[in-house]
Amino acid sequence: MKCRKCPARAVLRLPRHNTAFCPVCLTDFVRTQVQKAITSQHMFSTNDRILVAVSGGKDSLTLWEILLKLGYRADALYVDQGIGTYSQGSREKVEQFTEQIAVPCGATLTIHNVEEEEGASIPDLANMVRRPTCSTCGTIKRYQFNRAAIQGGYDVMATGHNLDDEAARLLGNVLHWQEEYLQKQSPTLPASMDGFAKKVKPLYRLTEREIAAYAVVNRIDYMVEECPMSKGAKMLVYKDVLNRLEAESPGTKHTFYWQFLAKQEKAQAAHGSMTDTDQRTLQPCTTCSQPTSTGICSYCKMVARAKTPAQ
């Protein structure tokens, strides 16, 4: 199979775009999609300081690499979850990437260790508060990334969420009619009030397969192994279902999420923005001052419960 843009041999077929690319044209395609996302969703400019949330996986390392190649000022934060050899391996990938690619571009990496900060790893915290590990991990990472972005004086926080992530999350929210979560599914979430960093998802125009292919052809050494805690996670089931639909009808994920964004934009114009909702419903946590809908935020409650001796 030939590349559709040049005479070279193709390495990836993209059925949703009815095309195929060689390594050079694939790299150009992926970087162009990221730049389009940044510009069209008003994510940030070359003057802004960006904090990238990295995990050692393909999405976050690819995002960091592309932002640096496009000339953005992007540092990164890695949160060590304390999940045995998986966390050790992830951390090694992040540190290796930092040394080989980020440092030569003038970027820095900060590492937070949950066990050192809170006295227990994420799986232990989840056990103590009797919540699923993925949900505990999400609460901790969201909190720590937001806090690091605010304290570090960053203009924006970027995550590696891709089209598959957003389509799967949308499917889950729609299946359970969790309408309150739909408002938070935009590629750009504003710093709606004091204590919240602006959050962006520059990979939302790209599928996981396109991102993984970019990582392979650009020799980005990422953690292929999946988190052992994610076994049986609902997100993986939703992604599998969407990929089966995609195989039958290329472009399904793209249409599902993008049509949602178009409808959401109209709805916000008619019913008010997320900023209006946040300012109406949130107030500072009485313990840490981060915005919350209750008196004490879920992070502080979780840490307090974990530090309370068992009865």
């Binding site: 995990s55 990334f145 969420h161 598959d164 599928t207 397969r209 195989a247």
Partner: protein
Amino acid sequence: MMKSSMKIHLSHPTKEIEIKGPKHVRDLFTELHLIPEAYLVIRGQDLVTEDELLADTDIIEIRPVISGGSERTS
């Protein structure tokens, strides 16, 4: 003399299998009941498309691209 087969590395869970070639990538997906949208096929260090013919001497990795728990950082 033993006949050789292509060596295939799979992840999630990690395992090594051998399959007799020559075989097109798309036929490999069918034989292993895999959805192409969820995987990349890497021969040596290079990505290959579904129409590529794989030989018995090839070392192949079928790499899953799907990741994520209920909440993701990346």
